[in-house]
């Protein structure tokens, strides 16, 4: 296959990509990050010339590439130029990248080609001792927010000044407290991170005070920026159901005793005792010297008979109260229903509280 024939498909691909990007730019300017990512893909397809064209588009001043994006674009530009055989343009690309980020590391170049790392190293050596600019990081975090406890996240955007490794740590209490959650990401440009209010075991954290620490360190690890935020978590108020009384009102119960015909046999006994008292009264209290005159006092027997008849009448016509097991069961069922309603309400209220969203108040406390 001739060189023209071999290059023709790549040229066609570039035309297609540029046409697509051009169409896109007609609607909105293509983002430098997209151009850089596409250029990286073209490199994997060994289409370095197409990649160079895309990188040049990303590096145009009107593309507003961030410093980190410019560093990456210039680095890839240098690599592609070296691949295409233009050492001068290659080293120029590295030089421009190093001028923006003197701490730039390119260890991964060795895996592409040993010459790449050598040329990069030469440009780096030409810069002399590296004194990196201080790392800065911008964080966008809502002041107060309501976070659902299921599927919710406390979202924050992190934008380091240049490619950096971002470590987000949540600690209980202040920044010296126990680590609740930690996330790490290597960021070029900006990144949106979030905390789902859960600890490392996946359990929802308790309301209280926490500290979110964000550290962005450059690739050398020598320059880092830090931001601390105090997070106050509290449950949002929920409308719970009033707890029903453990004891149902007295009107909910039925009397457990019923009146049945016929008094207790003790009534008969009581009547007999009083009758005996009537008969025995003269014997007990009467004067012994007059006892002879008492004889069998018929009047006492009349009274005793009257009392005995009263006892018999009371026994036959009287009523007594007895406990009805069925009524007891009904009352017990009423108590059980009340207890169940209370238990269910307690459970429902607990569920409501558990599902209540968390109100997160944030306050910057760090540098």
């Amino acid at each position: 296959m001739s060189v023209v024939a071999r290059r023709f498909p790549r040229a066609m691909a570039l035309v297609v990509i540029l046409a697509a990007l051009g169409a896109a730019s007609a609607r909105a300017q293509a983002r430098p990050s997209q151009l850089i990512a596409t250029a990286r893909a073209m490199m994997d397809s060994l289409a370095s010339d197409s990649a160079v064209t895309l990188l040049q588009l990303a590096l145009r001043s009107e593309s507003n590439a961030t410093p980190a994006e410019q560093v990456r674009a210039w680095t890839l530009f240098g690599i592609n130029q070296l691949i295409l055989g233009d050492v001068q343009l290659g080293r120029q690309g590295f030089r421009r990248a190093l001028s923006i980020d003197p701490t730039l590391q390119a260890d991964s170049l060795a895996s592409l080609h040993s010459d790449l790392l050598r040329e990069f190293g030469a440009e780096r050596a030409a810069l002399g001792p590296v004194r990196a600019a201080p790392m800065t990081v911008q964080v966008a975090l809502a002041g107060d927010t309501v976070v659902p406890v299921t599927e919710g996240r406390l979202v924050y955007a992190v934008r380091p000044a240049r490619r950096a490794r971002v470590v987000a740590t949540v600690t209980a209490g202040d920044s010296s407290g126990a680590v609740v959650r930690a996330d790490t990401a290597t960021v070029t440009g900006d990144i949106v991170l979030g905390w789902d209010l859960r600890n490392r075991a996946g359990a929802l954290v308790a309301p209280g005070r926490y500290t979110l620490r964000l550290v962005a360190a450059d690739t050398t690890g020598e320059n880092a920026a830090r931001r601390d935020y105090a997070l106050t978590l509290q449950r949002a108020r929920v409308d719970t159901t009033a707890l029903p009384s453990a004891q149902p009102p007295a009107s909910a119960f039925v009397p457990e005793t019923v009146q049945v015909r016929g008094s207790s046999p003790s009534v008969l006994l009581r009547g007999a005792v009083f009758a005996a008292a009537a008969v025995g009264l003269p014997m007990v209290l009467g004067n012994p010297e007059l006892r002879a005159s008492l004889g069998n006092d018929a009047k006492s027997y009349i009274a005793a008979g009257a009392v005995s008849l009263a006892g018999l009448y009371g026994f036959l016509r009287g009523t007594r109260w007895t406990t009805d097991p069925e009524l007891q069961r009904r009352n017990q069922a009423t108590r059980d229903r009340a207890a169940l309603a209370r238990t269910n309400t307690i459970a429902a209220n607990a569920e409501l509280r558990a599902r209540a969203p968390m109100v997160v108040r944030t306050q910057a406390v760090g540098p």
Partner: protein
């Protein structure tokens, strides 16, 4: 007569108003008439004399919460043999008492009684003061109960004769209010005992105490108003 009329009207008015007051204030009023078919035995100078008669009277009490106040009056004639050793005697008993209901079955209190005996021989008056206890048990129906009343007179004064060394009264009976209504019926057996000291030396009664004992049926009917 002109003085009695206003007092009588006042008494009638009070009597008419009392039931209403009782219901409104949670009082309980009881009152009624009673008869006492009594046999009185007297042992004196070695002989036993018997007197019989029927005493009639009225009894009433008012109860407010656990506290009850009551009174009773009875009068009648005890017929003896007619001679001087056992003359007929006209008697009049007046009794007042106050009691506290310790429980639904027990009431204790104090009682004061004046007993006046009048016979051709003379007039004798006894003034008695003592304690009383009443034990009552319901007999299976509201308004049907049996009871025992015991009164022991610890203090006694006498006019016209020596004061008794022992004076007591006891009664066992039953009360019934048909349908637990206001009407109350009662029947009981009562015994009363009075032991008098022997006469002084040199008198006919020396060494021979006078012993009196009365017993008989008590029946009554009345009404009760207010709180049951």
């Amino acid at each position: 007569m002109t003085r009695l009329l206003p007092l009588s009207l006042l008494a009638v008015g009070l009597a008419g108003a009392l039931p209403g007051v009782a219901v409104a204030q949670g009082l309980r009023l009881e009152g009624g008439g009673l008869g006492y078919a009594v046999q009185n035995d007297v042992r004196y100078l070695g002989a036993i004399h018997e007197q019989t008669g029927i005493l009639v009277g009225a009894e009433g009490q008012i109860r407010f919460g656990p506290v009850g106040l009551g009174g009773r009056g009875m009068m009648g004639t005890l017929k003896g043999s007619g001679d001087l050793s056992n003359p007929d005697r006209t008697v009049r008993f007046t009794t007042v008492w106050a009691a506290v209901h310790v429980g639904s079955w027990l009431a204790v209190g104090a009682e004061m009684e004046a007993r006046r005996y009048e016979s051709p021989v003379g007039v004798t008056v006894l003034q008695l003061l003592g304690g009383r206890a009443r034990l009552a048990q319901q007999l299976g129906l509201d308004g049907l109960a049996a009871s025992v009343d015991v009164t022991y007179f610890a203090s006694a004064k006498a006019t016209g004769m020596a004061a008794p060394t022992l004076a007591l009264r006891a009664e066992v009976g039953t009360t019934f209010s048909p349908g637990n209504g206001p009407l109350t019926l009662r029947v009981g057996y009562r015994i009363e005992r009075f032991d008098f000291p022997a006469g002084a030396a040199g008198t006919p009664a020396a060494g021979s105490p006078r012993l009196e004992q009365a017993r008989g049926l008590v029946v009554g009917a009345g009404v009760r108003l207010g709180r049951r």
